[in-house]
Symmetry: C2
DNA sequence: ACGGAAAGCGGACCTGAGTCCACTTCTTCT
DNA sequence: AGAAGAAGTGGACTCAGGTCCGCTTTCCGT
């Protein structure tokens, strides 16, 4: 019932190549674009002021002087809105590990990059934890959120480059699981693990992952 | 706001030792007990008939001929009800790995038990996936659900027994993450991984976890 | 038995997410 | 410029989860 909602226009990629490709995303109408930024700005402001948990969809629509229907058409649901908000925060972080300078970006040895990736990710998560928890994708979406898929892929690629053997995709999935925002949050606040220990744990896992198959 | 709900009487353990201990859980009143089983039975029946996703709290209360307030007082929220329902299904599985015969239960070598544990867990999850997905604890509760904590602990204990070195608790946490119901479901349905591959992946992870620290 | 206190009950009520659809606004084609 | 229709809009509405609080039941001490 709630499982399969329509989910309209998943991030209609405002900048498409001008080549006359068959027919990609038919471009967004100007008023729609205007409302998107209004909504995003309003939502960002409200989240900053009251914390992501305490922002209702009605409040966002009102603050943006836009109808509720529009809000939902744009972002699908509450989670979608939070995810869109996160995308902004993720961009810099993603650029960092995809294209940035070593040791995080290309140029360094794969193992170094993996280490740096874990460290950067944990740091990034903690900085945006409020949003991550509010945007937390329950069950079905947890492993299909683009940002998450990107992380798993990145880890898998680096593992391969580092010469890892075994079922690298599954190992990558397990490693990515360690970087789940909710887990990091739990370890920090409920279990009292220090940031350093969590990052050291990542390093240990990476080393185990790239080691030759034991036994 | 939603974060810290009162959460009344977490499983008030109906059978307490008759010793005059200081003063544990003050026992449940008879009408309360009666209503709890009514609710659980009604909920179980509805879930069986319509799938966990399509069962509303009102429907459960009605079917049990009990007020909605009672339902919520007992189980806190929807997730709590689903968790309670799961507890029943988990019991046999938990007994299996805690007290059952080898290789799952005590008696076998720790490494064997770890392997068997992964296999049994994946199988168990797939059998009850409907409920697991409905009971899916979002963010804050995901890592504090008793059954989950038990799994992590069990893994950590066996890792220790197997002579694992390093930050065993964190490694155990990562391994447990691999057994997240939503992940197993995702791997099976979205990614098309076979049950066998997922279980083999577990075996690989376990072997890596108990290997001596690389590098 | 009986009476008082505490635990439990139930359903009206509130809130916020998500839907629907008649209406408006953009875009494009001529 | 104007018409046609696709895309977008907004807010009333529905629905389900969760709360509240006056009433009832059970329990226990006397």
């Amino acid at each position: 019932m709630t499982a399969q909602r329509p989910r309209p226009a998943e991030t209609p990629s405002p900048s498409r190549a001008e080549l006359p490709v068959v027919d990609q995303a038919p471009r967004e109408r100007s008023d729609a674009a205007r409302n998107r930024v209004r909504l995003l700005e309003a939502a960002g402001e409200l989240v900053r002021r009251h914390g992501a948990q305490n922002v209702t969809m009605d409040a966002v629509a009102d603050a943006a002087s836009v109808g509720k229907g529009t809000l939902f058409r744009r972002f699908g649901d509450r989670e979608g809105l939070m995810l869109a908000l996160l995308e902004h925060a993720e961009e810099e972080y993603q650029r960092g590990y995809l294209f940035g300078p070593p040791p995080l970006g290309p140029g360094a040895a794969p193992l170094e990059r993996l280490d740096a990736f874990g460290e950067a990710t944990v740091r990034h998560l903690l900085c945006n934890m409020d949003l991550y928890l509010a945007a937390d994708a329950c069950a079905s979406r947890r492993y299909t959120v683009p940002a998450g898929v990107l992380r798993v892929t990145h880890i898998a690629v680096l593992l391969h480059q580092a010469g890892a053997v075994g079922d690298v995709d599954l190992v990558a999935q397990a490693l990515a699981g360690y970087l789940d925002p909710a887990l990091v949050h739990h370890l920090c606040t409920q279990r009292g693990f220090s940031l350093e220990r969590i990052q050291a744990g990542w390093r240990e896992l990476v080393n185990r992952a790239v080691a030759p198959l034991p036994a």
